[in-house]
């Protein structure tokens, strides 16, 4: 099968959906003439013209709200945030408008649209450019939240997100755009809300999503060398969460480690731990463990980045701990 970059997979999804549906358009900072801050939308202005690939001023609150209004009135915007750190300037329109429009209007005005862009840390970018808001958005009823981990998933999930009738938050990573992976030429869709077992195993379940899946999978490979066969589940969507897949796996492995790149309090991992203790309490042989980033803003110096993030070692330690194999 051919191999393409993560950014190319996203671009293909955008291109295919825009060719198929006149109502879909792309709006955001530097998406058109500059070909995207991270080159996701390379060549799209040329193909679709400035009516459908729209550069905005640095006015997130305004253009996010304009996209919401356009969605209420029959279009299907894809609204790009240069990174989700800047979505905070626009979050009122996402939470107070997009997420509850359908419900507030008694089902009359939906917002079929996608807010997308990179999330999370990307090296030494300092505190304001290194944040994960997956759980913030996932907390809000009315939104769906997708966080893909590889090019194949990114393409199939983005196509599903654009076709979805609800507002979807779609979170990528600066550090994944260059990742390569196999993506078929033929069209495919990956439904939202369905987790994917990326590695089958019986010793322990590791749940993760997005960029940090790489850490989880590398840890699983390391663990396999010591005879520990981890089952690694990629959530792909953190709202809704595919609890069933997690719980079925835990019933088999009896141990669970959740790995995510976000602050720990009220995070996706806290949520999963709650649901698993509620629904699989009798199957657990050890308390659920999680690996998150540290409970602090991320400083600039390299030692902070290293200390802060989930690492292969931290995941292995957590697995050893739930296996009572503390060394």
């Amino acid at each position: 099968m051919r191999t393409i970059q993560f950014r190319e997979a996203l671009r293909e999804a955008l291109n295919e959906e825009m060719r198929k549906d006149e109502r879909v358009f792309l709006i955001g900072e530097e998406v058109a003439e500059y070909n995207g801050a991270y080159k996701v939308s390379q060549g799209m202005l040329e193909e679709f013209g400035e009516k459908r690939v729209i550069d905005t001023p640095i006015a997130e609150l305004g253009f996010a709200g304009i996209a919401v209004g356009a969605a209420m009135n029959g279009l299907r915007p894809v609204c790009e945030f240069m990174t989700f750190n800047f979505s905070l300037v626009a979050i009122d329109q996402v939470i107070n408008a997009a997420a509850k429009m359908l419900s507030m209007s008694g089902g009359q005005f939906g917002c079929p649209m996608v807010f997308r862009g990179p999330t999370g840390s990307a090296g030494q970018l300092g505190a304001q450019h290194s944040q994960n808001f997956e759980n913030w958005y996932a907390n809000t009823p009315g939104l769906k939240v997708v966080v893909p981990s590889n090019p194949y998933d990114a393409k199939g999930l983005l196509k599903a997100a654009i076709r979805d009738e609800n507002p979807v938050i779609f979170m990528e990573s600066e550090q994944m755009y260059g990742d390569k992976g196999e993506v078929p030429e033929e069209e495919y869709i990956i439904p939202l809300g369905v987790a994917d077992i990326k590695r089958v195993g019986h010793s322990v379940t590791i749940v993760s999503f997005g960029k940090i899946m790489k850490v989880a999978l590398t840890a699983a490979d390391e663990l396999a060398k010591e005879g520990i066969e981890a089952e690694v589940i990629d959530l792909r969507t953190v709202r809704p969460i595919d609890y069933n897949t997690i719980i079925e796996s835990v019933k088999k492995t009896n141990r669970l480690v959740v790995v995510e790149e976000a602050w720990p309090l009220a995070s996706i991992s806290s949520e999963i731990a709650y649901m698993v203790q509620k629904n699989a309490f009798d199957y657990l042989d050890a308390p659920v463990k999680r690996v998150t980033c540290l409970d602090v803003p991320l400083g600039y110096a390299p030692v902070f980045v290293e200390t802060y993030l989930p690492s292969v070692k931290k995941v292995i330690d957590a697995v050893n701990s739930v296996m009572y194999k503390n060394k």
């Binding site: 900072e29 530097e30 001023p57 640095i58 006015a59 609150l61 305004g62 300037v89 970018l125 600039y300």
Partner: protein, 333 residues
Amino acid sequence: MAAKKNTYSKETYIKWYEEMLLMRRFEEKAAQLYGQQKIRGFCHLYIGQEAVVAGTMSALKKEDRIITAYRDHAHALACGISADAVMAELYGKATGCSKGKGGSMHMFSKEHHFFGGHGIVGGQIPLGAGIAFADKYRGDKQVTVCYMGDGAVRQGALHETFNMAMLWKLPVIFVCENNGYAMGTSVERTTNVLDIYKLGLAYDMPSKAVDGMQPQTVHESIAEAADRARNNEGPTFLEIRTYRYRGHSMSDPAKYRTKEEVEEYKSKDPIEIIKAIILKERYSTEAELDAIEANIESTVNKSVEFAENSPWPEASDIYADVYVENDYPYITE
């Protein structure tokens, strides 16, 4: 606006020259070090815009307050933070002016009344008004200069802040450093109102455009605005027109503009202009200017040495200064 020649003293010209040359040489070194990966992350150079900060600082008092965005190295230096502390911050060393927590975009120094470099475009605009609010509240006479880019004026926060700053007559000078571009987007592509200063007029704020390629014109407009602020007459909005020679950040090839455009601005380089005046008026000899240059080079080289030899922060410092208490119960698992 033509500069009024000779309104300023010999000392002022020489100070401008020294200050701007330090900014320039410091950042040229920073660019090299970025290439060597000694400096990481986002790094935005101020090269070309030096006259804006130099002309501002000469018109202010030492205790006046400065706040700006992420393109902040020159502002930090001009506030009096040592080249050592700024360079060490660029490296991420514990001796940096933000203890290695901030990096290029987040220089701070309370001691030097520098309220920081801020990373969210436009985020510093209300903060600048708030700093001025506090001075007015206490009855102090300080003035705050709040810098922003031409891209930042597109944020809604600007309008909310301008309205309140006028309503409450806050002692703040809003300075838009209009360098023509926000990343790859020219001002023309973001608005029908090409004269950015006119945004202030909607709030009846005294507002005007200023030539930012020479410190004289900047000084003049800031001095006037500062007087107004100190006399309880409220804020001013200055659109200071300038140019950045380099890309937006280290990773920007700047293909959205022509070589000719860049060359045109370089031909009216503020450092060269001031140097020419100094020589023409015989304020200094070539030899004296060479000595200044050598001095600056040594300051910059020493700052690199200082940064190189400085300790890294400890891993445990990651928990320092998140809360004021040092026994805050962090979640650790």
